[in-house]
Symmetry: C2
Subunit: 133 residues, 2 copies
């Protein structure tokens, strides 16, 4: 069944698509990640967001270590097929490894010439992943 859906996705030269993760209730953009074919199939079939970690070069089921899974409510594909939006319920309300709701916590303040921290830490990083990271 899922093959028809997959054929509309355009993979880049690394075999990846861009995924924007958005909170399905607040509408907040939580993170941007990348996914290969295996990660997309796992996301579509399992209902939890799964990506490809470019740094670790491995499949990355978001929340597997922290428990902060992203339960997929809706999936959208864009006009040219190379980007997806996952609308999710963010377990624990924490998407960022820094313990914040969103990875996009730095807000531009042009007058002050700096990025202002716009989100508080809900849970300390060491309490999410353990003291040894």
């Amino acid at each position: 069944m899922i093959n028809n859906l997959m054929s509309d996705i355009k993979w880049d030269d690394r075999g990846l698509v861009t995924v924007v993760v958005q909170d399905y209730q607040s509408g907040k953009v939580l993170m941007v990640a990348w996914a290969n074919e295996e990660a997309i199939i796992k996301s579509f079939e399992g209902g939890r967001a799964c990506f490809w970690s470019r740094s670790r070069r491995a499949l990355w089921l978001k929340g597997e270590t922290s428990g902060h899974y992203q339960l997929i409510k809706d999936i959208y594909l864009d006009c040219d097929g190379d980007s997806l939006v996952f609308k999710v319920e963010q377990v624990g309300n924490i998407a960022c490894h820094t313990g914040r709701n969103t990875c996009f916590y730095k807000r531009l303040d042009v007058d002050k010439d700096q990025w202002i921290n716009n989100e508080s830490v809900i849970k300390d990083e060491k309490d999410i992943y353990g003291k040894h990271g």
Copy 2:
């Protein structure tokens, strides 16, 4: 002034960052694009979203042809510095070259095994760009 801000951005091996464009009122994700250093400076200084077109290999002031500029209200940077969110006022309410509000107009319907068109066309493509594209 802008140099401090730029130093926090991490460019990929193509010299690009990912930009998620979001409607500042509806919260809808309108599109995903890429920007190089010049495009980001132009966006920050001019207040209208500017990108790097990977297909045309050229600077791309969004709306220059169509008039559908994106007026930047807020800019956010993510934890690892390689993705930005532009919150914008979308002139004409049309972000997509197909004449729709958003490029993410295909919604996944797993049961039907297809992408369902979720957004109506506000303006025909030929009326946006002219009959010769």
